[in-house]
């Protein structure tokens, strides 16, 4: 438990501006109206008690519908079962309902929801709408940007249902609900001073991800530090590692690397 607090302290002790384009969670801000982003997530997770690597590939499209509404759709691929194949997909929407802007700072709040469909077998008590479970997640997120530092926190409720292909939710309907809590901090490290859009931005971020099952009371708590590079003010790459800090939930592959590639097309439609 000492490690995450140390990292947070290091973050807070550094001076500068912040970033909120987090690698695991979403901030309260959306992409610009009329813009379309393409994203490919790679999750390279170590399976517990085996030498197997669970590789998840998640291509995603992000659409800025209006200044307040953003919609994402993705497909989940993985090699977790016998062979690498498509296992499902999800649709995510986020509605920004509060925005207080000031020079180099803002406070924003948004409501979000995700509907997921997955055809793979259910193999862990953790409920995960990003490539494991069928179900729904709804929540609220608040994000504070203070010059080079961004802080974001979210609370969401999850309801897992049976997966497709007759893969039942194994842990009883009482234990199919959970609450996720997240806290993320990001910091712009480079450039020290903006001069033009071609400068590469480097951000460091740390995210704390917690789930509590409302039926069983079991929980997990993870930390996910990441480094992010933004190129040409248009594309980005995030590289991070997600590690379990503490857990009483059965989980099959909680630790591993993640890589996110993203490219944004501005003003694709009006």
């Amino acid at each position: 438990m000492k490690q995450p607090f140390l990292i947070v302290l290091i973050f807070l002790s550094l001076r500068g501006k912040g970033q909120e384009l987090f690698a695991v969670t979403e901030p309260a801000s959306n992409i610009a109206t009329g813009s379309i982003g393409f994203r490919v997530d790679h999750l390279i997770m170590n399976e517990i008690n085996s030498s197997k690597i669970n590789y998840h590939l998640i291509p995603e499209i992000i659409v800025g519908v209006s200044k307040k509404l953003m919609i994402q759709g993705n497909v989940f691929f993985s090699n977790r079962t016998t062979k690498f194949k498509a296992e499902g997909g999800s649709v995510y929407a986020k509605y920004r309902f509060l925005s207080n802007d000031a020079m180099q700072r803002h406070f924003r709040m948004a409501a979000f929801g995700r509907i997921s469909r997955n055809n793979s077998d259910i193999h862990q008590e953790e409920i995960n709408m990003y490539g494991h479970n069928s179900g729904i997640e709804v929540g609220l997120v608040a994000t504070q940007l203070l010059r080079k530092v961004a802080l974001s926190s979210s609370v969401s409720v999850l309801k897992a249902v049976d997966n497709g292909n007759n893969n039942k939710y194994l842990y009883g309907s009482k234990n199919s609900n959970a609450v996720n809590y997240t806290f993320s901090v990001g910091k712009l490290m480079l450039p020290k001073e903006y001069k033009d859009y071609r400068q590469t931005n480097i951000n460091l971020m740390a995210e704390f991800l917690t789930q509590v099952n409302t039926g069983s009371g079991k929980y997990y708590m993870d930390i996910a530090p990441a480094v992010q590079m933004i190129f040409n003010s248009q594309s980005r790459i995030d590289i991070g590692y997600r590690a379990e800090l503490s857990s009483t939930l059965l989980r099959t592959a909680p630790n591993g690397f993640f890589i996110r590639l993203e490219y944004n097309f501005f003003n694709v439609f009006k």
Partner: protein, 160 residues
């Protein structure tokens, strides 16, 4: 025929009493260059915009316009808001041709009507900068401080 030409000439001389040549706006609510770039690219989609010169450091955008194009202030503001941010300062550079302005009296300049506040009555000639004070063109704090009544559509509060 001569009469018609004269009328047209008069009409042109009336409408051409001033020309908006540039707008300098400052955006708030952002620090990241990707955010700034989304504003930059959104402003460039406006058909009356000639060029956008973005200062990444100060979040300021210098916008120049196509000759004789109708410059829509509301559309400029909307583009910034649609990118997810806010305008905190909006200054228009206008070439005036001897326009008399009176404090708190609406005056039609080219295709827009302005209501100048906090000014001395004067004649404007040559290049001048005016600052738009309507809601969404200044910070919420400044808007509150100015305490201006809601302006009718197409009339902008401004000051020099």
């Amino acid at each position: 025929m001569k009469k018609i030409v004269l009328l047209i000439a008069m009409a042109v001389s009336v409408t051409m009493n001033a020309q908006v040549t540039r707008v300098s706006l400052q955006a708030s609510g952002l620090t990241c260059s990707m955010c700034s770039n989304s504003i930059n690219k959104a402003l460039k989609t406006l058909d009356f915009v000639q060029e956008v010169d973005a200062d990444v450091k100060t979040y300021t955008f210098e916008i120049s316009f196509k000759p004789n194009a109708y410059v829509d202030f509301d559309m400029i503001k909307k583009k910034v808001e649609n990118a997810g941010f806010s305008v905190v300062s909006f200054e228009a550079t206008i070439v005036f041709n001897n326009v008399h302005v009176t404090n708190n009296q609406p005056v039609t300049i080219e295709d827009k009507t302005f209501l100048f506040v906090n000014i001395n009555d004067q004649s404007l000639d040559g290049v001048k900068k005016i600052k738009v004070l309507d809601k969404g063109f200044v910070s919420p704090k400044e808007y509150k401080r100015n305490a201006l009544p809601v302006s009718p559509p197409r009339i902008y509060y401004a000051t020099i």
